[in-house]
Amino acid sequence: MIIKNLEKYNLKGRGGASFPVWLKWNEVQGSKSEKKYIICNASEGEPAVFKDGYILENYPDEVINGIKIALTTINNSSAIIYLRKDYYKKFKIKLKKLIGKSPIELRKKTCGYLCGEETTILESLEGKREEPRNKPPYPSESGLFGYPTLINNVETFFCVSKIAKGDYKNTRFYSISGDIKNPGVYELPENWSIKKILNKTDNFPAFNFFVQINGGAGGEIFNNEELSITVSGSGAILVYNFEKAKPLSLINQWLNFFYNENCGKCVPCREGILRLKEILAEKKPNLDTIKDILFALKETSYCALGKSVPIPIESLIKKIWII
């Protein structure tokens, strides 16, 4: 029943990948296994994304309810909430109270940004080195300890609860930050444009600006002529003042983030990010080399971390910092 509704409302994952939620649920529910796992991903680790913390703070009951619905929908299952360390500390007591006797366990995240990637969470929970796994098999087929596993984001479970109660209003939580007056998390309709969101939250800058959507590291850059699009993925809007922003230091900031957060497993990500950093520190960076590296990252990285490195850099160079 709930799965039908998830399909009806076309609910997509709110962690970033926007994968249809009902498909995951359907697969895990339909698989035959003496054990199954449900994981609530509360590891929120990218700069400028902070709505899951807000939801845990304000609507923990809905999140737990969403997980409980998953527990009753999926047979032989138990659940884990995989929490960023500070969220664990902050929300532990409140969550435990709401969990009561349900088979839901709280677990602390063991590494940085990459521990938000779903297969890396599995490795982390199995006590292994925190690195992504080969897909397929997908977690829904063979996940934690080889059992079918449903992994959804905090906000996704919130939505599940709302849909089950008939309370779902097609909204999403936007993390809005940057050079604006009223930063914060706002629950607004998911079909609103960036322009409308900034206007309605009284955040539309009076100056020339551009935005980074869905993350302060791997998010794509849009200029102020592109504000009619909607925001999917993790729902983050980061506003930059066009005059103040320094493109090169922005790129360096992103690269530093990826440099520190990549696991070192695959060649393009481990080596490419390092070399990009080095080349950009040179007086006359070789553009062809930069392009080659970004291409290898995009096409051949093992997981989404490496694949996302070119997104902000290429869009910034294309739209804002025309070289």
Partner: protein
């Protein structure tokens, strides 16, 4: 056919079996996809990202090694975009890898260089970032971080988890474990599974000429059973080609005073081990009895499972027994002062370099063996001396250690040691001759073979194991069921010595199979197939190994619990190998 699907590869429509990877399909179709971190012995890691291909309808390139074909898949294995990423990723790998091509275990067979050519990679596009990384030496193994491309094959193949991954991102490092509960057992599988030659054995390059430079000495060589079916590979001959005559000729050309066959030493090992096994079985003492000729297996027990030391036979390995006989029996016969004899063993194994230095093996203060050269090292020495191995006319080894039985030859394959022992022990246990010398049920590449062998009216539960992880599994079983089997042969390397850490590269299950089959073929063609029927063995037992003391000091040893060996940091590979 239900398990066939239709796919398209490089525009060609083909029917292929389900559940295969793109890489397997391409190989079958004769399409060459570049691979580096992929090794047929290991799990698919897809770290190097060189085997990427395009699959119609899927965004981003996919790795052929990990992608399973599906019906209707349309695969392209070479395109401008694919080749561009291969070039960049190769350039990245080169920036992690300090080239030291003349001193590399891959020598002329380097996949990395071949790929650089194929994709026009500029190998100095990015500056070498690992030139200041350490070089570690532990036992006979040298691990050179300046060449490591972080593929982790060594980490996976190491049966004792001695190699560990440290740090993250570009700071990632593969290093020997500092954990005091972990030590290397020197099997050298890390060497044969490293795609870029970051691991080698001590002296692999700089030490190979040392033995022959000793002046005023009688420098004699002995070669292990398996070398005769592996060294040809280094000179472009087919896998498993039997080259005994060329091998001897090559050693003589190098200037060795005498060339002896370690398989004759193996015949002595067989006599002693068969004796021990028969006695333990008849008296039901210290069972199950374990074979003792693989030094990595021995070190594994001494370090990790000293509680099983009593199960080991005390018989010395073939190279040590033969070395001992050379410096005693042969020295007396030739009237040479044993101090003036240098014994150089040609071995498939890096662990033999460690075994050679075990102090308890000394006879009258002399080491039975003075130098060990691996198969690879001998090949390099021959090349350095410009010896045209392929075209050498056959020569015979030197008397008195020239003619082994077939039993001494099959020592090189997993199961061979026990098959030899059974051929000799049979009579002792059953009281009559063995009807057929072939014990085919314990042959083959399987990691664990447990067979019930009928010897007379007794049934001997025999375990034949290759691979230390498999051996560990058997030890665990013994803890629950101490009588799970009566005897166990263990070789640390896959397939036995033919898959040893000192053997030519590359290696795979198929290659090991050809090497082993050739050994069995030599055995089958020999009129003399059991150690106890070998005239030289009979003669030496009659005239020299006549008392317990002699037999013990030349043919037996003792084992004891061992502490962790040292891990040394060498300065820099370029300096130490210059």
């Amino acid at each position: 056919m239900d398990n066939l699907i239709n796919i398209k590869i490089n525009g060609r429509e083909v029917k292929v079996k389900k559940d295969r990877t793109v890489l397997e399909i391409a190989n079958e179709a004769g399409i060459d996809i570049p691979i580096l971190c992929f090794h047929p012995d290991l799990s698919v890691k897809s770290n190097c990202r060189l085997c990427v291909v395009e699959i119609k309808g899927i965004n981003g390139l996919q790795t052929a090694c990990s992608t399973v074909v599906r019906n209707g898949m349309d695969i392209t294995t070479e395109s401008l975009n694919i080749n561009k990423t291969r070039k960049t990723n190769l350039e990245f790998i080169f920036s992690q890898h300090l080239e030291e091509c003349p001193d590399c275990v891959w020598m002329s067979n380097c996949q990395l260089l071949k790929l650089a050519k194929r994709y026009s990679a500029n190998i100095t596009r990015f500056k070498d970032r690992k030139s200041k990384r350490p070089v570690f030496q532990f036992g006979p193994i040298v691990f050179d971080e300046t060449k490591c491309m972080d593929c982790r094959n060594c980490v996976e193949v190491c049966p004792v988890n001695f190699l560990e991954i440290k740090n993250r991102g570009a700071d990632i490092e593969i290093t020997p474990s500092r954990n005091r509960q972990k030590d290397c057992i020197y099997c050298g599988q890390c060497i044969t599974h490293c795609p870029v030659g970051a691991i080698e054995s001590t002296g692999e390059f700089e030490g190979i000429e040392k033995p022959l430079k000793k002046e005023n000495k009688y420098i004699v060589a002995q070669f292990a059973p398996s070398i005769r079916t592996t060294i040809g590979e280094e000179f472009g001959l087919p896998y498993g080609e039997v080259v005994t005559g060329k091998l001897v000729a090559g050693l003589k050309k190098l200037g060795f005073y005498r060339v002896f066959d370690t398989s004759v030493g193996a015949d002595f090992t067989t006599i002693e081990e068969a004796h021990e096994l028969a006695e333990r079985i008849l008296k039901q003492r210290n069972l199950p009895a374990f074979s003792s000729c693989c030094p990595s297996w021995v070190k594994f027990l001494e370090f990790y499972h000293p509680e099983f030391i009593k199960n080991l036979c005390t018989t010395r390995s073939p190279q040590i027994i033969l070395g001992g006989l050379i410096k005693t029996y042969w020295a007396e016969k030739e009237k040479i002062n044993p101090k003036n004899i240098i014994v150089v063993s040609i071995m498939p194994c890096v662990s033999k370099k460690f075994e050679m230095n075990r102090p308890e093996l000394a006879i009258n203060g002399l080491k039975p063996v003075d130098f060990v050269l691996t198969t690879r090292e001998l090949a390099r020495l021959l090349m350095k001396n410009k010896i045209d191995f392929k075209n050498l006319p056959s020569e015979s080894a030197d008397a008195p250690f020239d003619s082994p039985s077939g039993a001494g030859i099959i020592y090189g394959a997993s199961g061979g040691v026990f098959e030899s022992a059974i051929r000799t022990a049979y009579k002792k246990i059953a009281g009559k001759d063995m009807p057929d010398f072939s014990v085919k049920e314990i042959r083959g590449q399987e990691g664990i073979k447990i067979r019930e062998l009928k010897i007379g009216n007794r049934t001997i539960k025999t375990a034949v194991v290759n691979g230390i992880k498999n051996a560990e599994q058997m030890l665990n079983e013994l803890k629950n069921k101490p009588k799970a089997f009566d005897v166990m042969e263990v070789m640390a390397c896959p397939g036995g010595c033919i898959g040893g850490g000192g053997q030519p590269l590359p290696v795979s299950a198929e290659i090991r199979k050809s090497r082993a089959e050739s050994l069995y073929k030599i055995d089958e063609e020999k009129p003399l197939r059991s150690a106890h029927e070998n005239p030289i063995i009979q003669q030496i037992y009659k005239n020299y190994l006549t008392n317990r003391k002699n037999i013990h000091s030349i043919c037996h040893t003792k084992f004891s619990p061992k502490k962790k060996g040292q891990i040394n940091k060498l300065k820099n590979s370029l300096k130490t190998h210059a």
